[in-house]
């Protein structure tokens, strides 16, 4: 197995610029997949397989389904959820209670359990979804315990307390009902198959990518127009719904449920399944579930030592394979890994179709092939900050700051280190809210808008310290740009509707165009973190451009670049200017500032000390003083 995975993770495309040559051809992968499915399908029919083993297979299925459901929350979005069994409990008890109280058939209760569990997740997580890492972790543990204890305390006589609920019926599909171990085995694995198809479709869609963007860098995700809160909640609701389905199937198989089925220990096991398999990896979750169930079974003869071994195995795994047994691989798959239908085999063909670049400020996805809309290119102001003040504790970072950016021009904001320039950018893009003052963009007050809304309105930015999505490929990074203009949500992604497929195609086309424009097309299938520094800056630029903004805010775009790269960057910025992008830069390299700015604003100690055309600024004594210090002799 280890051999196989290491083969899988080998770098596939060594030669850049060509569509990747698969060392591990698609056909072989398909054969393996078919073999795996065939093995799963034939398992109960094998001669040595008895009912006990079939039941083990069923249990693996239950844990796999739960692992897949937690993988959405923990693996895809990176949220610490250590109380996931609560959602399974809600599903199981919904089934048990409604079966007895309303005599609804188990099959009808399956979707109802999913909906109730999902709704429950929405109710309990929406007030706490903003909590960070460990705080969210304890809250999920708390929710898990509350649910278990409530079930145990038998409110209104519904849950029957610690005695649990028995005599739950079997699923009955009218023509046939599911009763024997073999039937249950097929039942759970067919459900898993369906769920996996949906999850893969979701994973390889704008929704799945948005989840990964959040996991990789929440701030960068926000600044690229991802509604972080909504997507986190979606992950919880969906994960809970699938856990609810698992609860329903579990209840109908054993016909009996009790609160202790859903203890913290079980939640902790699910957590281990996801990490053993690999974060965000669907086959990993299956493998993790198999390990968790089968490992203790193998050590059954050691009776009381088996969980001891299991704990030790967990530690050893994390020391030697912290990424999991079967981590999700992204690089070297080519665009096929994006899961978008009917892409040309040759990725260069995608580029050759050369979509007309969208006009800045237009919503690209629906209109970018249409003749450009005329945007007023007058000397109007695109952005104004009015008397912005922001304090951090005792420090006044920005003080009463007025600045304006003229449409269609390059404005530079300069000033010594620590002057407050980046802080001002953070105010404009909604990361910080000012204590006083207003930000007006295209005549609209955007001071109170959330970052992701501001991006949608047409302001894109890059970061001083580069904030990419490091473990995603370059093309995936840039595909976050069009996200804020895309419409198709969860269900169209799950069912791959034609509209969703068209939209995905436009996203990848637009991203390809921008990636090529900054000269990174050859690196499209590389992970962002493997790029050299200068190229990472360009990638961030491409990602910002791909949001088709009216105003592009660049925080020290030339920092860390060598002279040649800086020259290329300047030329590129001129091209963008020609395309109609308005730009606002923070820059330290005065060659860049003096070379391409139309207007320079100088900031020192949080205040504006000068503004004007570059030449004037260059000789302004106040500016020289701010940089070099006062002449004193």
């Amino acid at each position: 197995m280890a051999d196989l995975t290491s083969k899988l993770t080998q770098r596939i495309s060594k030669t850049q610029g060509q569509s990747p040559q698969r060392k591990f051809p698609r056909a072989t992968g398909l054969v393996l997949l078919v073999a795996a499915i065939a093995l799963l399908g034939a398992f109960p029919l094998l001669p040595f397989v008895n009912n006990y083993l079939i039941d083990v297979g069923f249990i693996v299925g239950i844990y796999a389904l739960l692992g897949l459901s937690l993988n959405i929350v923990l693996g895809e979005v990176g949220l610490f959820d250590l109380g996931h069994m609560a959602f399974c409990a809600i599903g199981a008890y919904t089934t048990g209670i409604l079966f007895h109280q309303l005599h609804l058939p188990i099959v009808i209760l399956l979707p109802i359990s999913a909906i109730v569990a999902g709704g429950f997740a929405y109710l309990v997580t929406s007030p706490v979804i903003h909590l960070r890492g460990d705080y969210l972790c304890i809250v999920t543990i708390g929710i898990g315990e509350i649910v278990r204890l409530v079930l145990q305390n038998n409110p209104g006589g519904l849950t029957n307390g610690p005695n649990g609920i028995g005599n739950i019926g079997n699923p009955d599909f009218g023509l046939f009902s599911i009763q024997s171990p073999t039937q249950f085995y097929y039942y759970i694995w067919i459900v898993i198959g369906l769920v996996i198809i949906g999850l893969i479709n979701l994973q390889k869609s704008r929704v799945g990518r948005a989840w990964n963007y959040i996991r990789e860098d929440e701030i960068a995700a926000k600044a690229n127009g991802i509604d972080v809160r909504a997507f986190k909640l979606l992950a919880f609701v969906l994960g809970a719904a699938i856990a609810g389905i698992a609860g329903n199937i579990y209840a109908s198989k054993y016909m009996f449920i009790e609160p202790n089925n859903f203890s913290f220990m079980e939640s902790a096991l699910l957590f281990c399944i996801v990490l053993l398999g690999g974060l965000g990896s669907i086959p990993g979750s299956l493998l993790g579930a198999a390990v968790i169930v089968i490992f203790p079974e193998i050590f059954r003869q050691f009776a009381s030592y088996r969980l001891l071994f299991f704990g030790a195995a967990l530690i050893v795994m994390m020391i030697f394979r912290p990424g999991g047994l079967w981590p999700r691989r992204r690089e070297g798959l080519g665009f096929a890994g994006l899961g978008i239908r009917k892409l040309p085999r040759d990725e260069n063909a995608l580029l050759a179709e050369a979509p007309v670049p969208p006009r800045p400020g237009t919503v690209p996805l629906k209109t970018y092939r249409l003749p450009p809309v005329t945007v007023a290119m007058s000397e109007g102001l695109i952005l104004e900050t009015k008397a912005i003040t922001l304090k951090f504790g005792g420090l006044v970072a920005v003080s009463n700051f007025d600045m304006s950016v003229v449409t269609g021009k390059i404005t530079s904001l300069i000033g010594p280190n620590g002057a407050g320039k980046t802080t001002l950018f953070n105010v404009i893009t909604g990361i910080y809210r000012p204590n006083k003052g207003k930000v007006v963009f295209q005549g609209r007050d955007i001071t109170k808008l959330k970052p992701h809304t501001i991006i949608g309105a047409g302001i894109a930015r890059t970061f001083q310290n580069i904030r990419l999505f490091p473990s995603l490929t370059c093309i995936e990074n840039v595909m976050s740009g069009p996200h804020c203009h895309a419409k198709e949500g969860t269900w169209p992604a799950v069912f791959r509707t034609p509209a969703q497929a068209r939209e995905e195609r436009k996203i990848v086309e637009l991203a390809s165009y921008r990636l090529n424009q900054v000269g990174l097309w050859a690196f499209r299938n590389e992970l962002a973190k493997n790029l050299p520094y200068g190229k990472q800056r360009l990638l961030e630029l491409a990602r910002a451009l791909a949001t088709s903004p009216s105003l592009l805010i660049l925080d020290e775009p030339s920092s860390g670049l060598n002279d040649k790269e800086t020259e290329d960057l300047m030329a590129m910025l001129q091209v963008f200017l020609g395309e109609g992008f308005t730009m606002l830069l923070i820059e330290h390299d005065m060659n860049v500032v003096m070379g391409i700015s139309d207007w320079v604003t100088v900031m020192d100690m949080g205040s504006k000390i000068a503004e004007g055309p570059p030449r004037e600024i260059y000789n302004n004594p106040l500016v020289i003083e701010a940089y070099l210090g006062k002449e004193e002799d």
């Binding site: 050299p532 060598n562 330290h588 005065m590 860049v592 070099l628 002449e631």
Partner: protein
């Protein structure tokens, strides 16, 4: 004069980025040397390498002739090095007094005795404002006061060599003035050798005897401070304009 610090062809990189590309410099006992340059030139990287917070790719750093790698990072303060980091880095949840006590944590001879008390009095004389605020949490101080505390915390171990990283960063001119006055004073009275990293070139060159100008990880210009002060190329290095050629310097005017 003997060299207290010698840096030879130092290369440092962060992953793919090369931050220092062969820096060599020297600091004599009792001297002040300034390292100047714009943001990202590699100034802080240089100081962090000297303090062994970063591991250089190659090159050597010698402290009074001894290889600096002989000492664990936390032992350097015992060797008389005090590094005042960029951005003040005071311990926000500790009081002013506790911050000062941290300054001698690694110096066995200082522990809590008389000597410490005497030095602390001296620091309070240098920065009377710290005395007023000695019980306050450092996080509640203003930027200037935090910088004073950071320098005081460096001084309290009675170092023979101070590495000062942008002591005027983000400070109002009056306060920066004050800080520079104190640096001059400790240099003159205590004969501390000082390696001063600054953006504020005129101030730093007013204080230092010798200066190095860093540009993207290389030394672009070096020379006597009084010469550099009037050198057009220094202005150019900061404000752009004419490309600077690297040339041996020293007696140019």
């Amino acid at each position: 004069m003997a060299a207290v610090l010698q840096v030879e062809t130092l290369f440092v990189s962060y992953g793919a980025v090369e931050a220092l590309k062969g820096i060599s410099l020297e600091l004599d006992e009792g001297d002040i040397v300034a390292v100047l340059g714009s943001n990202g030139a590699g100034k802080t990287t240089l100081l962090k390498s000297i303090s062994r917070l970063l591991v250089p790719r190659s090159g050597s750093i010698r402290l009074r002739g001894a290889d600096i790698n002989k000492f664990a990072p936390y032992q350097l303060i015992q060797q008389g090095i005090a590094h005042v980091p960029e951005g003040r880095k005071v311990f926000a949840t500790l009081t002013v007094e506790e911050n000062l006590r941290m300054g001698v944590f690694g110096v066995r001879t200082m522990a809590p005795g008389k000597e410490y008390k005497k030095t602390r009095e001296w620091i309070f004389r240098l920065f009377p404002r710290l005395l007023e605020r000695r019980k306050q949490l450092a996080g509640t101080l203003s930027g200037g006061e935090q910088q004073m505390l950071a320098i005081g915390r460096g001084l309290i171990s009675k170092p023979s060599l101070m590495l000062l990283d942008e002591p005027s960063l983000g400070l109002a001119p009056v306060i920066a003035q004050e800080i520079f006055r104190v640096i001059r004073q400790i240099h003159q009275e205590e004969k501390v050798s000082i390696l001063l990293v600054e953006q504020n070139a005129r101030k730093a060159l007013g204080l230092a005897r010798y200066g190095y100008i860093l540009e993207t990880g290389k030394i672009a210009i070096q020379g006597e401070a009084c010469d550099l002060r009037n050198d057009e190329r220094v202005k150019a290095a900061y404000l752009g304009g004419a490309k600077v050629n690297i040339s041996a310097c020293g007696s140019m005017s």
